[in-house]
Symmetry: C2
Subunit: 202 residues, 2 copies
């Protein structure tokens, strides 16, 4: 009758560029170090400062295509000449070991994950407003006006996919956004459907 | 694009006698004084120490039957010679004003509420074990062994209704149980389906 869930939860996080998703994820992982943050596989070359097994799992094109052939990806996509993908094998092992797994993934990838794992928890991170998103993108001082306009347009397109997500978290203050995600995970852990094993013998 | 929900949430709490539900509710309301705790209407006489408008709304049989005739109850039942019921009117006013409303209600009443308000949040409070529930019931020192056995039997029957609830909270420690309920309410407030108004103009 213990309410422990036997399996971990798969948590899918999406959100437009500039919303501060990686800062929210850092905060979340510092509060919940038990969560396994899934790292994507890619065939692109590491950039300066990027580490294998930290930012990405860097693999050769042959290795990646072998993984595709063995159906080892939860989702994968090809951008320009490079592959990017999420290993189903690693995630499945963690989930079965009772570990919660976090995926940071864009909306198309999330849609593919939803097809395969409808029970995953889908969370979309929003900016407080598009004005604020614009301010944040300008504040980075890294992109041209044209690039920023492109990102804002893409953000509007991505927001149209929000109905595919279970939860919407507004990143106004990072600690609040992380706390809301933690609450969502606590609540999901209390779902009756995941706790029915505790009723054995009742 | 503000994620404020326009309406309050209806929260339905059930749990077997002796589980410590009223203590959990007190803790919850002290943390979340903005929640309106719905008080039942009854035609029974107040017991010593009970106050009108605090423990129950005490009304005459004629008043109660008039409310039934005007379909003013979300649910009502008759036990022995007395009526008990939950006013739909009061709840609707609160919800529409954006206030979260908490109902403490037994499983049959909760099933009726679910028919009328499928979007309400249904939470069942469990004891850590039936052994512990038995200990708590004995610890009260108010009931005979026969009465306690009856309560335990009823608790087992009530637990069979758990699949009708969305969430299961184990009252091992009162503060933990209240915190889990608060997390559930935070998470429900982040549900995409309640936040779609923030996407107007996107």
């Amino acid at each position: 009758m213990t309410p422990k869930r036997r399996q971990g939860q798969l948590i899918v996080l999406s959100g437009p560029s500039g919303v501060g998703k990686s800062t929210v994820i850092s905060e979340l992982l510092s509060e919940r170090p038990d969560i396994y943050f899934s790292i994507s596989f890619t065939t692109r070359q590491p950039r300066v400062g990027e580490e294998d097994g930290v930012n990405y799992n860097f693999v050769s094109k042959e290795t990646f295509e072998g993984m595709i052939a063995r159906d080892e990806f939860l989702e994968h996509a090809r951008y320009v000449d490079n592959y990017y993908g999420t290993s189903l094998k690693v995630i499945r092992e963690k989930i079965e070991a009772g570990v919660d797994v976090l995926l940071d993934i864009e909306v198309q990838g999330a849609a593919k994950v939803k097809e395969k794992c409808p029970d995953a928890v889908f969370i979309f991170i929003m900016p407080p407003s598009f004005e604020e998103l614009s301010r944040r993108l300008h504040g980075r001082n890294t992109d041209s006006e044209e690039v920023i306009e492109g990102r804002l347009q893409k953000a509007r397109e991505e927001c149209k996919q929000i109905p595919n997500y279970d939860f919407l978290v507004v990143n106004d203050k990072v600690s609040d956004a992380a706390a809301q995600i933690i609450s969502i995970l606590v609540a999901e852990g209390c779902r009756t459907k995941y706790c029915m094993d505790m009723l054995e013998g009742v």
